[in-house]
């Protein structure tokens, strides 16, 4: 039976979901706007006899995650944008050593110290393998407190199945806002997959020593290892690509947005409907793997797209790549509207932009335009 709905902050819901997913060890360093998550973990992990460490830095916290996961634990860290930059070292190593773990980014506005308000300027860093080397990892973007809890809960199993870090890319609004949430039941510790590769627990097993490492100095050997990982990426793309589509068949213009921006777009779509204007929403939930096939299908069906982000335009590049060449060999029209610096676009301005494009489409002179906030 489902639990009663609780009113929780996104940061707290992520923490509780991680605990219920069987997180054995949490390592973090204070940074706004994710501090409630670290405090929540401090309180409940220690009380339940699990590992919590306030690390000396985000760099160290990520290497602690790496160590704990290499030793067979379900390990997690969280931070916000500047701190996640520091974690990229350890994330690259974890990807190179095929170590499962969960990294939460409650993103804020950059670059540099930037501000503490919600932003989506970390899309490139998250989805392109933010550290050095050839790699990717799964990136999931929640739109609500409920989804933040659900995706975090699921992330641990995904990380183990695919042997890689899974990143939850939220933002300061999702972390700070309160919504009703029904939390998933605690996982059965016995139901975890075996980790025959991990360090430790060799006693009584007739196995060779395990070496958890990303170091392969022979170029051919390293290439083979990276290629094998990329074959795994193909399987993940086939199995784990996730998105939400709202009214995309009826509408000619589809808003493409993730996380908080998608909520704003949904508001704009509802407002448009009241005025008799059909708009659609395409919301990638897995930012990597990116749901490019479905976007291509919609492009082939003659749809146009308006990508809305809390950045100067990052995901829009993936949208353009996805629809590239699908419309009679030409690039399908993909417009962009974004606000950055911690400013969240309003429903009203998104709707105004959508109307401008629809009007232009109706006048059959539609061309993607450039402006200060457009790209």
């Amino acid at each position: 039976m489902a639990e009663e709905k609780r009113l929780m902050k996104g940061n707290e819901a992520i923490g509780e979901a991680a605990i219920r997913a069987g997180c054995d060890a949490y390592f973090g360093y204070p940074i706004t706007p994710q501090n409630e998550l670290t405090a929540y973990m401090a309180r409940y992990m220690l009380d339940s006899g699990r590992v919590f460490i306030q690390a000396e830095s985000e760099i160290a916290a990520m290497s602690m995650v790496y160590g704990a996961a290499a030793a067979g634990g379900r390990a997690m860290t969280s931070s916000s944008s500047p701190g996640v930059s520091l974690k990229q070292e350890g994330i690259s190593y974890a990807c190179g050593a095929d170590i499962p773990c969960v990294v939460v980014n409650v993103a804020r506005a950059g670059p540099g110290l930037g501000g503490i308000s919600p932003a989506q300027g970390d899309y490139f860093q998250s989805t392109r393998g933010g550290g050095h080397g050839d790699y990717y990892h799964i990136v999931l973007a929640p739109k609500s407190v409920q989804e933040a809890a659900d995706l975090t809960y699921e992330a641990f199993g995904l990380a183990e199945k695919w042997r890689m870090p899974v990143m939850i890319l939220a933002d300061g609004l999702i972390g700070q806002m309160m919504e009703g949430v029904v939390l998933p039941a605690a996982v059965d510790p016995g139901a975890r997959p075996d980790r025959p590769w991990c360090a430790g627990g060799r006693a009584g097993l007739a196995r060779e020593a395990n070496h958890v490492s990303s170091c392969i100095l022979d170029p051919a050997g390293l290439e083979a290892s990276v290629r094998a990982r990329f074959e795994r990426y193909e399987r993940i793309a086939a199995e784990r690509t996730r998105f939400e589509a709202v009214n995309v068949e009826k509408a000619d213009l589809i808003l493409v947005a993730y996380g908080t921006a998608a909520r704003v777009c949904l508001g704009a779509i509802q407002a448009a409907a009241k005025e008799g204007l059909e708009l659609g929403l395409f919301r990638p939930i897995s930012l990597w793997p990116f749901p490019k096939d479905e976007l291509a299908r919609l492009a082939k069906a003659g749809k146009r797209f308006l990508t809305v982000e809390m950045s100067m335009g990052q995901m829009v590049e993936d949208v353009r790549l996805a629809v590239n060449g699908t419309v009679g060999g030409a690039v399908a029209a993909v417009d962009f509207f974004g606000r950055c610096g911690g400013v969240i676009p309003s429903e009203e301005e998104v709707l105004a932009e959508a109307k401008r494009i629809v009007d232009a489409m109706n006048a059959s002179t539609a061309e993607p335009r450039s402006g200060s906030a457009r790209r």
């Binding site: 060890a25 460490i53 690390a55 760099i59 704990a68 070292e89 360090a199």
Partner: protein
């Protein structure tokens, strides 16, 4: 007939890639002997760092975890917290521990993380080819200190006595400095390592053995010259012995 000297079980019977006269081979052997004598081969985990000893996982016949440069104590923290009944050996060089990983070693030591750090101090960067280390002696030449380490004039700073520095922290329970320049020092060093491992297995707190180790290649010396230089130049600056011992009630340096 009783075998009194043989190849340690925890060390694979293969030749190492280390240079002639390098101290890593001897130190590996001391670790392997101690692990065997304590009977913990199947629950020993070595953290192998970035540096020459990145090869450690080729030689030790127990589990290993390789971590980013300098993060060895952070990685060891994660491993040991998940596997508190295992012997976790955090193997670090002077660049890894005393330069890029200074924050990690200080805080792991201060938290009293219950693993053992083996700190190999050869006063030089080995793997990258002889650059100045935080532990390079004043006047000692390096590719990045071609006229010798000049602490004030060239602003290169002074060699860091890491063991003494960490000994001031509350979380550290046992810190000793040994050397592998001579048979007698090798024997003493083995004793320190075993004492630290035993303390770890009893869950006492942070333990560390710093080991002065020759690097003939980057010092541009023959192996005998290098061993002599440890005795003549390093040991007078890096005092050998137990620097901190709080393993027994009322115990001290």
């Amino acid at each position: 007939m009783e075998v009194v000297y043989g190849h340690p079980k925890s060390l694979k019977p293969i030749q190492t890639k280390y240079c002639p006269g390098c101290g890593h081979g001897a130190i590996h052997r001391l670790i392997a002997e101690a692990v065997d004598e304590l009977g913990v081969q199947d629950r020993a985990i070595i953290m192998n760092p970035v540096g020459c000893s990145i090869w450690a996982d080729l030689y030790f016949d127990f589990d290993s975890v390789q971590v980013p440069h300098g993060r060895t104590p952070a990685g060891a923290t994660g491993v040991k917290r998940m596997r508190p009944d295992h012997l976790v050996i955090c193997y670090q060089g002077d660049g890894d521990l005393a330069a890029i990983g200074t924050a990690e070693i200080v805080h792991a030591a201060n938290r009293g993380e219950k693993f053992t750090t083996i700190f190999v101090n050869n006063a030089i960067y080995g793997m990258t080819g002889g650059q100045m280390a935080p532990t390079t002696l004043v006047g000692q030449k390096a590719t990045t200190a071609p006229h010798g380490r000049d602490p004030d004039g060239a602003g290169m700073g002074y060699p860091i006595r890491v063991s003494e520095m960490l000994a001031t922290l509350g979380g550290t329970k046992y810190i000793a400095r040994g050397s592998v320049d001579s048979a007698i020092n090798v024997r003493k060093t083995k004793h320190y390592i075993k004492r630290a491992f035993e303390a770890q297995l009893r869950g006492i707190g942070f333990t560390m053995v710093e080991i002065l180790s020759p690097c003939p290649t980057n010092w541009q010396m023959s192996p005998p010259q290098a061993a002599d230089w440890v005795a003549s130049d390093m040991i007078p600056f890096y005092r050998l012995g137990e620097i901190k011992n709080e393993l027994v009630e009322g115990g001290g340096a």
